[in-house]
């Protein structure tokens, strides 16, 4: 085997910031290579250079031993490198085969004697046939005539992969391919990657999910802070713990340790028959009921876009319901304003931290009080006590381990993890009865994730209730006491977090299974 892609001393700088520093990478033909690293470690920058989206500042790129320069993805595809992005680039109203050939359509030909003349008409029949053959060759379960908008996320991803295979790429780069998939689809994808490998395809997979790496990679390259730390063979010695340590640079506790304190029996938050329509009039939350008790974390599992965002909006006072009730310790809070909710003891960690959780251009100190800024500690008779606000910041920075470079920088200068800690500090320090948290560790580095998980569990152990929405199924499963599954705006299943399997959850998340009788009404049964 020889190197199909080789990077020599590849460096990418944005101004003075070095995103990739002196990367030496050599991918062998026919192998599955995983590139792992935390958010911001430089994985995507590196791939974007291989794919021609970015041009290296220094260093050179070799493809099959020849130096190459890609000025755009088109160059890369022509050379034989294809990439499937985390977010698909498909046209929903076109069919599978139309999407696959989009951009390099086959024209109808007119034969005159020996000569063939291209007509400005698309030869749909032939295109369809070629794609059908391709689907059969790679054994992808797809129908060439289905419209993209009718396909599941997993099937769309297969279309994206076929799109690249149709262009006969030798190297397939997959950027965070499992981020949007349910467990069953992840398994299917891993099987497909094995198939592709058998057929001689080289695959590079970028991810931060270690068990998936373990399941499909031959070799693993670890990136950390713009540097390629090491490349190792995926054998028994390469444990998840070891890989995590390489990614972070220190030992990491991968498993969350729970206290084992039993769930209380007093209900804290009771949601009943909650429904809401979105701006287009579609019912996005449908008759949702659940109860969270003292000392309990209720996790919500579901594929993104199944009503989680709207449910969170309803509970945090940002959206009007069409029906239902929400009681916090038997007080009705459904139609309260966000400031009233906070006063009543509802802590909020919003899904979109940079839009709703933080004011980027305001300093950390000011962000640490927003929503609580009229409390008597910070505000007397309408006048702000900026001394106290600074004091509060100093306390919070210490207590919640918020790493800041200057004394009181704007939040925009903080890393994702530290920015999230600002929100966690603000919401937890104001003594919530219930914490509503959505995607609390998305885009957050492993160290901060650990810290946030510990904080949430500590709150639970203080007798509080936690409502946790996360697209990381493993996060929901490891933190929550009980899991409800949401599909198409409805709660379709309820499980004990300890005993339910990922596969079982996946079946409910995809809508394939549904519980007839939910325990939700009565509590945790």
């Amino acid at each position: 085997m020889s190197a199909i892609i080789e990077a020599r001393h590849l460096t990418k700088r944005f101004g003075i910031f070095t995103a990739n520093n002196d990367i030496n990478l050599s991918v062998q033909e026919g192998e599955v290579r995983a590139i792992i690293g935390e958010n911001g470690a430089g994985k995507t920058t590196l791939m974007n250079m291989l794919y021609g989206i970015l041009q290296p500042t220094e260093g050179e790129l070799l493809f099959k031993g020849q130096p190459v320069q890609f000025h755009s993805p088109k160059d890369a595809i022509e050379a034989g490198i294809g990439m499937v992005h985390q977010h698909f680039k498909l046209s929903p109203s076109l069919t599978v085969y139309e999407n696959i050939v989009l951009g390099i359509e086959t024209n109808k030909k007119l034969k005159i004697g020996n000569k063939e003349i291209n007509l400005p008409l698309i030869d749909n029949k032939r295109e369809r046939k070629v794609v059908e053959d391709l689907i059969q060759k790679y054994n992808f379960s797809l129908n060439p005539d289905d419209k993209i908008r009718d396909l599941s996320i997993g099937a769309r991803q297969r279309v994206e992969i076929l799109k690249m295979l149709y262009r006969q790429v030798k190297v397939l780069i997959l950027d965070e391919p499992t981020a949007v998939l349910i467990p069953q689809e992840v398994e299917e994808l891993i099987a497909k990657i094995h198939d592709l490998k058998r057929m001689g395809q080289t695959v590079i997979i970028i991810t931060h999910k270690l068990n998936e790496v373990k399941a499909c990679a031959d070799t693993i390259s670890v990136m950390r802070r713009g540097q390629l730390i090491d490349t190792i063979v995926n054998d028994d010695a390469a444990t998840a713990e070891k890989l995590a340590e390489m990614m972070v640079g220190r030992p990491v506790l991968l498993r969350v340790s729970k206290s084992g304190k039993p769930v209380g029996d007093k209900p804290v938050l009771e949601v009943r028959h909650l429904s809401a329509k979105n701006a287009e009039g579609r019912e996005v939350v449908r008759d949702v009921s659940f109860t969270i008790h003292e000392n309990e974390i209720l996790g919500v599992a579901g594929i993104e876009g199944n009503g989680q965002t709207e449910l969170m909006y309803l509970l945090t006072g940002l959206m009007k319901p069409t029906a239902g009730s929400v009681k916090l310790r038997s007080k009705e809070i459904l139609n309260e304003w966000p400031d009233e909710l906070r006063r009543d003891g509802v802590g909020v960690v919003p899904e979109d931290r940079y839009k709703q959780g933080l004011c980027l251009s305001l300093p950390v100190s000011n962000n640490l009080i927003s929503g609580y800024h009229r409390r008597s500690r910070f505000c007397h008779a309408g006048l702000m006590d900026y001394k106290e606000i600074q004091k509060n910041k100093d306390e919070m920075v210490k207590l919640y381990d918020i790493r800041i470079s200057a004394d009181d920088p704007p939040v925009s200068a903080l890393s994702g993890g530290n920015a999230q800690k600002v929100i966690i500090a603000r919401e937890l320090s104001n003594g919530p009865e219930v914490l509503l948290a959505s995607q609390p560790t998305r885009g957050v580095d492993i160290g901060a994730t650990e810290f946030i998980h510990r904080s949430i569990l500590a709150l639970r152990d203080q007798g509080k209730a936690v409502f946790l929405i996360s697209s990381e199924l493993s996060e929901v499963k490891s933190l929550a006491d009980r899991i409800i599954v949401i599909h198409d705006g409805r709660i379709v299943g309820e499980f004990d977090a300890e005993s339910v399997s990922f596969n079982e959850l996946g079946l409910y998340m995809s809508g394939a299974k549904e519980m007839k009788q939910l325990a939700g009404e009565g509590g945790n049964a």
Partner: protein, 365 residues
Amino acid sequence: MSDNLKRRSIPVLNAVIPLAFAFALGAIFTMIAGYNPLTVYGLILKTAFTSGGGWMQTLGFACPIILTGIATAFAFQSGLWNIGVEGQLYFGAFAAALVGAGYFGLDCIPVGLQMPLSVLAGILAGMLYAAIPALLKAYLNANVVVTTIMLNYIAIELTEFLTKAFFQGDQSYDSTYAIQETAEIPKIMSRYRVSYAIFLAVAIVLVVWFVSRRTSFGYEISAIGRQLEFSEAVGMRVRKKIVLIFLISGAIAGVAGATEVLGVNKNFMPNFSTNPGLGWQGYYVAVLAHNNPLAVLLIAIIFGGFRYGSIAVQSKLGVPLDLLNIIQGALILFYSIKYFHENKEKIQKHLKKANPAKKEEQQNA
């Protein structure tokens, strides 16, 4: 240390360079018109800023600009682009003129109350007129820039129509009756333009400054101005605040109109706020001052001085007043370019963040 000095000097440079460019451009036009720019600029500065009397006139011209400037800046710092101060000023002036002149039998108001009630009428009129774009923004999310600019034209034409149709005073003038002498805001010295309204203007600047800096309302304003969605999510009741901020801005614009009528013009004359209108000058001032109340005060005084100086130059040398408009326009134009970046590191950091941030955004999409 020298780094610190460099950083501090950058905003100053960013303000001085456009100033120099604007005056250079003005100089070119002055030369084209056949005058020596040095003489012209020298005379403007000398008349406006070197004698006690000059200062009195300067402050007189500055007074309404301070008010329109602070009205604009107050809305702008909340991210509400109220370009409608001109219109709100017109209605403020109109209402104050009617009450001050004793229309609708209001001449029965006791002497001591005439002036304050006239100012109050101006305030209310300015607020009411600002309520239109405020409600449109808060409840229908109408683009404030569009609504306020259009409402300016309506205000100017409507007050003209109303004046000519219903409230025309002396038939030889297209204006309302003069206000009662007892409703006037007295001048500090009868020879000079400046009235006691200047103290009110300065007081309003200080109050706005204090409110923005120290109160919880000010804290909310700064958050709303920076990030609306965030402010809503943490419970700042943004709609209500938008309306409130607009009303306050309109009220200050109303004061500007009222004091101009009661202290200087003595009646309401259509199109009294001459081109470029006092509201527009306030807009320039707010932009140049970065919405900082104290900077508004300073820059408005400079603007007032140039206005007065230009009038003097026009009468003495015959240089048209339009020259000032060119300089002011050029000033804004050159100002909109950032010559030096305040902090190179900051930009790098943004670049550094650009990637994960983008990813985050896509994930949420």
